[in-house]
């Protein structure tokens, strides 16, 4: 599985990097390719390029906020999940998203 995503929280200080790191770590454990961009206080960190976006099976948005540069992900299935859930259960979130995508196809 190739997964790209974006995390963002109101203050952009703590939840944003925590969710990104949790999801990437869970990705490693699942042996998936997971890259999460952090849209925090300082603007995009660990930004996702167009090539990476094109390769992705789905896009995971760990936030209910405004995410910038969404046009990169056009045509890809985009799934929004609450950021706290992503921090608490990153593996379950990734797995559930993958199942949901397969069902859509």
């Amino acid at each position: 599985m190739n997964v790209v995503g974006v995390s963002a929280c109101p203050a952009g200080l703590a939840h944003t990097p925590m969710a990104a790191k949790a999801l990437e770590k869970a990705g490693k454990e699942l042996d998936w390719n997971v890259k999460i961009e952090q849209q925090g206080m300082m603007g995009p960190v660990n930004a996702i390029t167009q090539t990476e976006a094109d390769k992705a099976d789905f896009v995971l948005i760990a936030s209910d906020q405004k995410i910038t540069s969404m046009e990169r992900f056009e045509g890809k299935p985009v799934i929004r999940v609450d950021i706290n859930t992503c921090i608490q259960a990153p593996k379950a979130v990734l797995k559930k998203c993958a199942t949901a995508i397969k069902k859509e196809d």
């Binding site: 963002a8 929280c9 109101p10 203050a11 952009g12 200080l13 703590a14 939840h15 925590m18 206080m41 936030s63 209910d64 906020q65 405004k66 299935p77 985009v78 799934i79 929004r80 999940v81 609450d82 706290n84 859930t85 921090i87 608490q88 259960a89 990153p90 593996k91 379950a92 979130v93 797995k95 559930k96 998203c97 949901a100 859509e104």
Partner: protein, 365 residues
Amino acid sequence: MKRILKEWEGAIMSGISYMIPTVIGGALIVGIPQLIGMCFGYGDLSKFAKSTGFFHMLYQINSVGWIGIGLVNLVIGGYIAYALGDKAALGAGFIGGQLATNNNLGFLGAIAAGLIAGYVTRWCKKIKVPEKWNSAIELIVMPLLTVGAVAVFVGVILTPPLAWINSGLTAWVKYMINQKTNAILLAAIMGGMIGVDLGGPVNKAAWGVGNFFMIEGIYKPCLYTNIAICAIPMGYAIMSFMWPKKRFSAELLEMGHNNLIMGTFGITEGAIPFMMKAPQLIIVNVIGGALGSATAAFLGVGSHVPPLGGLPGILTADNVFAYIAGILVCALFIAVVAPLIADFTDKDATGEENVNEDDIQLNIQ
């Protein structure tokens, strides 16, 4: 309905996240010259408005900070609109936010204006015209309709009720904070809210309300939140120094030490790793925050300049003892109680996630 409310929450949180640097920058640039002035015995810098020299410069810097504070409604209105309708919504959102300031509609007015601007922009994007008309729509018609909608709905129709609500709300908060029992109750609620999700929507709602009243010149609600914000991470810092090292995993011990910095500058997010390890700590954080803020309110904490956050807030508080006592009560409560109800060692770390997969809400777009 639930979906719309969720969308509003997301938009308002986006607005707040863009507004944070404006309000913090503004408050610091107001506060620092004021403090320097106070060191020389001048509590009121406005008497140097027309003079020259050092104190006039302080006055000028102080005025710039007030511009920042005055822009808060504009920024939040603009970015709520942006979150819903992208770039095309910004203009109407900014104008609506400033309208809220000018007509005394308060933060509710700014939020309403931002939402209206955002949704009207979305609706405008659905207008289908022959391609040759596209540029005319984008350049002229969209701004006309979006700003027009804000002018009609917020400027005319909603101004009387929003102004009534805002002045009622302001009067009510003023009344609350001037009465001891009510002030303590308000402080307990606001301090408790800070502890609920440590930087999440509930925390930011309390923080936002404190700051919106700060713009209106009412500083106590902001102080109440500031005390809890500072004291909760401080509690985990004190805990990590107070208890034997063997009670913590190496990682959490270091996080605890780091919370000394988080607490000093008023970043509640520092306490998140502990709450992640043991979710039952939410109760401790809420009670701690409520106790700390209520103690400060009981002892009559106050401020006559926009309060700074964290420990620097000691400098802007009128009653330094009350401010410090509030922080100590909350921090010590957390430091003593948290290790009694939570295990911070690695003992039970199985790497399993205890969240039911059915409880994870996916929102596929």
